[in-house]
């Protein structure tokens, strides 16, 4: 096969793998806005903390493994998110300008969490062991087992998430709230409780993203901002609050990112995201599937 074609396919594969992690995190950021109407600026910090929790487990118990890490950290993140909603957001909700206030408060929370991480873990980057070692070579392409696992885990998470949304009571209530909040209140859905669950779910999703990406990159106290910014652009591009839009956007933009990184070099990756963001704001502020506002 032509070497160029082979390289391009390799770039696309790499994009798809990153996209899967972005998709999980994008869904989390999107639901929290679409359902509980809060824009969570501490999202990147929860990403970091998810990874740190995993690191603590690995550092403390030598026999620790990934399935157990997911089993412990993901529920812990869920409850951390629920607690955050109850303590930080609930008292502000529905006051004057509360959407701006909650943005500011979650931004403050982000600084607090990042600096807490700096105090506890120090500035040195922490590694997580690889999810899996080795690589496979289907049709002459190289794909590390870790990337393959990440892709599979992400697909499973997205499938479970969509089943949860369409089949369970709580999921249906979340859909109802995102489609018409007053309608949900009228039929007697306890919306405050569902808001907490939504925060929990969103935090669990970003925590999962944190654990999945940490073995590829290192964990640093402020390391959550770069993925958060990417995910923010993804949900803006896909239409904040639209799950399907977020999924499309994650794959489109991650593959583009992969090409930018390959063709122009990694230094151009963040400017690329910024340009996309400006483009979205200029030409289609409601995003692909548009449910902003």
């Amino acid at each position: 096969m032509n070497i160029w074609v082979q390289q391009i396919i390799q770039v696309i594969i790499s994009g798809i793998v990153t996209a899967s992690a972005y998709a999980i995190m994008g869904i989390g950021l999107s639901v929290i806005y679409g359902i509980s109407r809060v824009f969570n600026f501490a999202y990147g910090s929860f990403f970091t903390w998810g990874a740190y929790f995993a690191w603590i487990l690995f550092a403390t118990f030598s026999w620790m493994n990934y399935p157990l890490v997911f089993l412990i950290v993901v529920p812990a993140m869920f409850f951390l998110g629920m607690g955050t909603e109850k303590v930080v957001v609930r008292s502000l909700r529905w006051r004057k300008n509360w959407q701006v206030t909650t943005m500011m408060v979650t931004l403050g929370l982000a600084f607090f969490m990042d600096n807490l991480a700096l105090v506890i873990f120090g500035g040195f980057a922490k590694p997580l062991p690889p999810l899996f070692r080795g690589a496979i070579n289907p049709f002459g392409f190289t794909l590390s087992v870790q990337d393959l696992a990440m892709l599979i885990i992400a697909i499973v998470v997205i499938l479970v998430f969509s089943l949860f949304m369409s089949k369970t009571r709580v999921g249906r209530c979340m859909q109802a709230i995102s489609q018409d909040m007053t309608g949900a209140e009228i039929v007697g859905i306890p919306i405050k409780k569902i808001f907490s669950y939504t925060f929990g779910l969103s935090t669990a999703l970003v925590g999962t993203g944190g654990i999945l990406l940490a073995p590829r990159y290192f964990i640093t106290p402020h390391g959550g901002w770069a993925p958060f910014f990417r995910v923010f652009v993804i949900v803006a591009f896909g239409g904040l609050g639209s799950i399907r839009g977020t999924l499309y956007a994650a794959f489109i933009l991650a593959i583009f990112e992969s090409f930018v990184s390959w063709g122009l070099g990694a230094t151009w990756v963040m400017p690329f995201w910024f340009l996309v963001f400006l483009g979205v704001l200029a030409f289609r502020p409601s995003g692909l599937m548009g449910t902003w506002g």
């Binding site: 249906r172 209530c173 859909q175 109802a176 489609q179 018409d180 007053t182 309608g183 949900a184 209140e185 009228i186 039929v187 007697g188 859905i189 306890p190 919306i191 405050k192």
Partner: protein, 234 residues
């Protein structure tokens, strides 16, 4: 069944409901009339817990619900049917109805109630797999009523059901509401198009500028000069 004692509600700075008191008896068709923007919708939203009263007391089936959350009020059987409908547009008719049966009491009787709703509104049964967004105005209105009934309602507080409907559809909606009332459901109806509904009402209450200016049985209302002037005479 439902009693309001000296209710005052503010809509922002605006004093929308002023010292309103009335009583709805079990099985009644209670009609609240009044010009647009005179606080009728605010009144219903206050009763159903969507807005908070500044002062006063609301009692439903001898339980005070003045500061209760809407989900608790719905669970007790007091259900609001909004003028703006507030359906779930990206869900099917059936899913909308099922979400109506969210509370524990309603869930237990979901199947029976659903049968009753489809019997009452055969069109909803026909369209049960269509998305709510695709319904016509009249069908959507029927769906809001059906969804309210699904909550295992004992009292339906219905806000301006004729809003945005052609006169012939209005009659259909009012006939259905009357039918629901005849089956034993207590109805608290807020309306502007009084002529088409006045025959069904047991009791009529007139609100102007957030105050009750008349409250009495239908026969009395029909004799009252003020009520006649404002509405019935045109």
């Amino acid at each position: 069944m439902l009693e309001l004692k000296n209710i005052n509600t503010y809509y922002g700075e605006f004093h929308a409901i002023r010292d309103v008191s009335f009583k709805v008896d079990q099985g009644d068709f209670f009609l609240v009339v009044g010009p647009n923007g005179h606080g009728k919708s605010t009144l219903l939203k206050t009763i159903c817990g969507l807005l908070r009263t500044a002062s006063g007391q609301i009692v439903f089936n001898s339980t005070e619900i003045t500061r209760s959350a809407t989900d608790k009020i719905v669970e007790m059987g007091l259900v609001y049917v909004a003028e703006e409908r507030h359906l779930f547009p990206q869900m099917t008719v059936l899913d909308n109805l099922k979400l109506g049966a969210y509370n524990t009491n309603a869930r237990a009787k979901e199947r029976e109630t659903l049968e009753y709703v489809f019997h009452l509104f055969p069109r909803l049964g026909e369209f049960k797999n269509r998305y709510a967004a695709t319904l016509s105005g009249g069908e959507a209105r029927m769906l809001t009523l059906g969804r309210g009934i699904m909550s295992c309602a004992k009292l339906l507080a219905i806000d301006e059901p004729s809003f945005g409907l052609a006169p012939i559809l209005r009659n259909e909606v009012f006939d259905k509401i009357n039918e629901i009332n005849s089956s034993g459901m207590t109805i608290l109806l807020v309306e502007q198009n009084v002529t088409q509904v006045v025959d069904f009402a047991d009791r009529i209450c007139l609100i102007e500028d957030g105050c009750i200016v008349f409250d009495g049985p239908r026969e009395e209302a029909l004799l009252n000069e003020h009520v006649k002037n404002v509405f019935l005479g045109g």
